[in-house]
Amino acid sequence: MNKIKTTQDFDYLSSKILKSITIPKDGFLGLLAFGDEGLLAWRKARGLSLKNASQKQEDKKKLGNE
């Protein structure tokens, strides 16, 4: 099983990126508790986007076309 990143990820609590979204008083966990919008905001804050294999293929194709 992949391990959860610990100390290094605490940096996000003071990240500049977070200034662009409203963080609920419960912090990042509060964002997850906010539902789909909170999840997307949380991912945005962390610069993450989850893509499946077919989407990745599509991205590659797009890059290839460019």
């Binding site: 099983m1 992949n2 391990k3 959860i4 990143k5 610990t6 100390t7 290094q8 990820d9 605490f10 996000y12 609590l13 419960d26 912090g27 990042f28 966990l29 509060g30 997850l32 508790a33 906010f34 539902g35 789909d36 919008e37 909170g38 999840l39 991912r43 962390r46 993450l48 989850l50 893509k51 499946n52 294999a53 990745k56």
Partner: protein
């Protein structure tokens, strides 16, 4: 359709949520969303069902039916395609769920994560199956979503992106659950990973639910979370107070995990309350509770579904919204009541084949219940799968592995056939249990005999078989199985001792049973059941004060023990404490409404308190649960004869139709004149039940008029049918063993207790100058107890006859007897002639 109470209804399921854990968090202000819901609504306990397995229970919640009717019997089922087993899926459900019924009524539903709900049903709305959030051991990029997870399929990609993989989570997410996270070496300690997995899965489901609620027009949304249950199974042992088997390090690291998951759920609840409007009813439930504090198990037994041993029998119920009472409590709710209650909220008829009831007391206004025979008979599209629908079996492998990891099922291993056989046996086990619950004990016994023969090493088969043998009074067979149980490695010594005591108790060997339970209670084990069994013995021995003390001890261990509340009520009732008794019966009913005897004795207690209207109400409820009972009708007839004579007449007619017979009983202490009374009745021309085995002697020169089988009444009352319409002598101490179903007219002989004792001393050839004072006190108490006992047994009609009055004024006493027995005076002189004053030899 009847009146629709709710425009919309949101049903939230928190598997395993328990008020005992929630209440301190509420008190500390840590669950503000739930507090809001509670303050604006109705709360209560929700009694769970047997088998206590989540897929079975959540299907009962969704259908209002027990497992034998809905077809979901466990965690896994045989895989018809490739052999072996697979997690149970929704195609095995054999009846309609709430959302299918709503579908047929033109309403729209969202169903998120319900267990089981894969493959997603084609309902009018959105269904996200319980495979949606399951994380396999692959990187996030390779994490696929099984076919059939989302309905409609057109929204698959949208929901796909709402799944959270555990590797996405960062330390700050886990930190609230494990404040010492940065100190834990995750290479050695994998518990952080399991927390992360559950948080990720919960976040996935929550994101799907909120998305569905915001993007659809819906009437009904149901969302189910299992994280509280899984977290409790993994981490309840670390919660305060610290137990000896947990190290200081583990306690410090993981003591906050259970609290953390509850707070996370409250944060999600807050979001749901934001997403609903004033027209929405919100219902929050759990399928069972979870044992905490001193109720935690030291060790989980080694058997299938063993984690269920950690569950407690009451889940939570909380409802708030339009038409719902404020700041109230509901009593006696069970999981089976959820579906009928939701249908009533929507003004939709309840299926008469549903096993639950509508929780009418939650509504602000009086609500009528409409019913139809069965929703299964209503044809047309309902959003269920076709018969031919089958799941892609390879998709279920990961879900299966998670069940193995959580300890709910054994690792099926390589042998697919063996795994399938075991799954079938598990299903048979639960069906056999349900048969016993439905009082079909004969079939249940046959099933368990077969299961036991197939696998004598399964502790559960042993225990259930013993219970059934005891039910059928097959004590030798019960002991044979117990001998086998003793040979099983994981069987509990204490449990075996308790079983031994229970068998002895049921054999009527109260002293031996007492020795066992008294010794166990002295060990201060805090094991549930010991004080209860001890109290039951005390009640049989008429030691009501001691019974009350033991029952208070039992309730200190588990305040939700329905049997303890019930027996406390019985002990108090027999002690003449009617108000306290009624409170105990109410406590019992509050926990388990479907406990007929508690309603009956509540009625008896209320009748004794002259609360006639309430007594009639309690007895009426009892008769709705146990329609064939005679005693309740007798009591109701007595209660109604002055205020509603016509109704009383109806009950009297029913009593005459139903009673097995009417028996005249002559009773009293030995040597109180019972034989003389039998002679009087003989002279009156009544039929006397006697075998004349005991001949007349100097002590009773005119004969004893006894019937030998009466002596073994405690064990065998089958001879009672011979006594119908006749008079039989039964000594006072044996009266309580006379079976229900008969009406008894009792002539109870009273004689000065000291005269009785001296007469007995003479009869036994003892020195009559030595007077046993203690015995005198015992007899007085005994007589007092019997008088109390008559008061709470309405099928016993009693007349007291004083022995010395009978000798001195036979005319008066015999007229009283004739009136009582409703016989004419034509034989009065013959009856008087049997009274021989010369036999009154012991006078004080």
């Amino acid at each position: 359709m009847s009146k629709r109470i709710a425009k919309k209804l949101l049903l939230i399921g928190w598997d395993s949520a328990d008020w005992k854990i929630i209440n301190p968090l509420l008190d500390a202000g840590k669950m503000p969303a739930l507090e809001k819901l509670i303050n604006n609504g109705v709360i209560g306990n929700l009694a769970t069902l047997d088998p206590p397995l989540s897929p079975v229970l959540w299907t009962s919640i969704a259908t209002g039916k027990r497992a034998d009717k809905h077809g979901i019997l466990g965690f896994v089922e045989p895989n018809p395609e490739i052999g072996g087993i697979r997690p149970i899926n929704v195609t095995s459900r054999t009846c309609k769920a709430i959302w299918n019924i709503l579908h047929q009524n033109g309403m729209k539903s969202n169903v998120i994560g319900w267990w089981p709900s894969h493959p997603a049903e084609p309902i009018n709305g959105v269904m996200v199956s319980n495979y949606f959030q399951k994380i396999d051991n692959v990187a996030a990029e390779k994490w696929l979503m099984p076919n059939g997870t989302i309905h409609p399929e057109s929204r698959r990609n949208e929901f796909f992106k709402l799944r959270v993989h555990l590797t996405e989570l960062t330390g700050d997410i886990i930190h609230p659950f494990v404040p010492n996270l940065h100190l834990i070496d995750q290479e050695k300690d994998t518990r952080i990973g399991s927390i992360a997995q559950l948080v990720a899965q919960t976040a996935s489901l929550h994101a799907a639910a909120t998305r569905a609620m915001k993007t659809t027009e819906w009437d009904f949304t149901a969302v189910y979370f299992d994280a509280i249950d899984h977290i409790c199974h993994g981490f309840m042992k670390y919660t305060p107070p610290q137990v000896p088997r947990v190290s200081n390090e583990d306690f410090d690291n993981y003591k906050d995990v259970v609290e953390g998951i509850y707070l996370f759920h409250d944060m999600m609840l807050e979001r749901y309350l934001q997403l609903v409007d004033d027209d929405t009813i919100v219902m929050l439930i759990s399928d069972h509770g979870f044992n905490s504090e001193h109720m935690r198990l030291n060790e989980i037994p080694h058997c299938n579904t063993a984690p269920a041993f950690e569950h407690s029998p009451f889940g939570i119920f909380c409802i708030s919204g339009p038409g719902i009472q404020h700041d109230e409590r509901v009593y006696g709710a069970t999981l089976l009541d959820i579906a009928p209650t939701i249908l009533t909220c929507f003004g939709i008829p309840v299926g008469e084949d549903m096993d639950g009831k509508v929780l009418l007391s939650i509504f602000e206004e009086a609500t009528s219940i409409k019913t139809i025979p069965s929703w299964e008979d209503i044809e047309g599209e309902c959003g269920m799968h076709n018969e031919s629908e089958r799941i892609n079996t390879s998709d279920s492998a990961e879900a299966l592995q998670q069940l193995v990891d959580l300890g709910y099922i054994e690792d099926p291993g390589e042998d697919k056939n063996l795994a399938a056989e075991k799954a079938i046996r598990e299903n048979r086990f639960y069906l056999a249990k349900i048969k016993a619950i439905r009082k079909n004990h004969e079939e249940s016994l046959a099933d368990f005999q077969q299961l036991y023969e197939e696998d004598k090493t399964d502790i559960r088969f042993n225990l259930e078989l013993i219970k059934l043998y005891v039910h059928f009074k097959k004590f030798k067979e019960a002991r044979d199985v117990m001998s086998n149980l003793q040979t099983i490695k994981d069987s509990s010594i204490i449990e075996i001792e308790m079983l031994d005591g229970i068998i002895l108790f049921n054999e009527g060997k109260y002293n031996k049973a007492y020795n066992i339970f008294n010794a166990l209670s002295a060990k201060n084990l805090r094991q549930p059941g010991i004080h209860l069994q001890l109290a039951m013995i005390y009640i049989q021995m008429d030691e009501f004060k001691k019974a009350i003390e033991s029952l208070h001890n039992e309730l200190k261990i588990d305040e939700n023990n329905t049997l303890a509340h019930y027996h406390l009520g019985l002990a108090l009732l027999n002690s003449g404490s009617f108000k306290e008794a009624s409170n105990s019966f109410l406590d019992c009913i509050g926990l388990n409404y479907s406990f007929p005897a508690a309603h009956y004795y509540l009625g008896v207690a209320l009748a004794k308190m002259d609360s006639q209207k309430d007594a009639i109400g309690a007895l009426s409820v009892f008769l709705s649960l146990a329609p064939s009972n005679l005693n309740a009708r007798i009591l109701l007839s007595n209660l109604l004869k002055n205020t509603e004579p016509e109704m009383a007449k109806i009950f009297t007619q029913q009593i005459n139709d139903m009673k097995k017979g009417e028996v005249i009983i002559v009773s009293g202490l030995p040597r109180s004149g019972t034989s003389m009374m039998m002679q009087i009745l003989d002279a009156a021309g009544l039929d006397i039940l006697t075998d004349k085995i005991r001949n007349a002697d100097d002590n009773n020169p005119k004969g004893y008029f006894e019937f030998e089988p009466v002596k073994s009444l405690a064990r065998d009352s089958s001879w009672l049918d011979q006594a119908d319409g006749k008079a039989v002598k039964v000594i006072a101490q044996l009266l309580k063993f006379l079976p229900d179903g008969y009406k008894y007219k009792v002539i109870f002989m009273k004689r000065d207790v000291n005269e009785v004792i001296i007469s007995q001393q003479k009869m036994l050839g003892k020195d009559s100058k030595v007077f046993p004072l203690a015995l005198s006190e015992t007899f007085k108490k005994e007589l007092n107890r019997i008088e109390n006992w008559f008061q709470i047994h309405p099928n016993f009609e009693v007349v007291y006859t004083d022995y010395s009055n009978l000798i001195l004024k036979p005319d008066v006493e015999i007229c009283k007897i004739c009136d009582f027995l409703q016989i004419d005076y034509s034989n009065k002189q013959r009856m008087i002639g049997t009274v021989d004053s010369t036999l009154y030899r012991t006078k004080l």
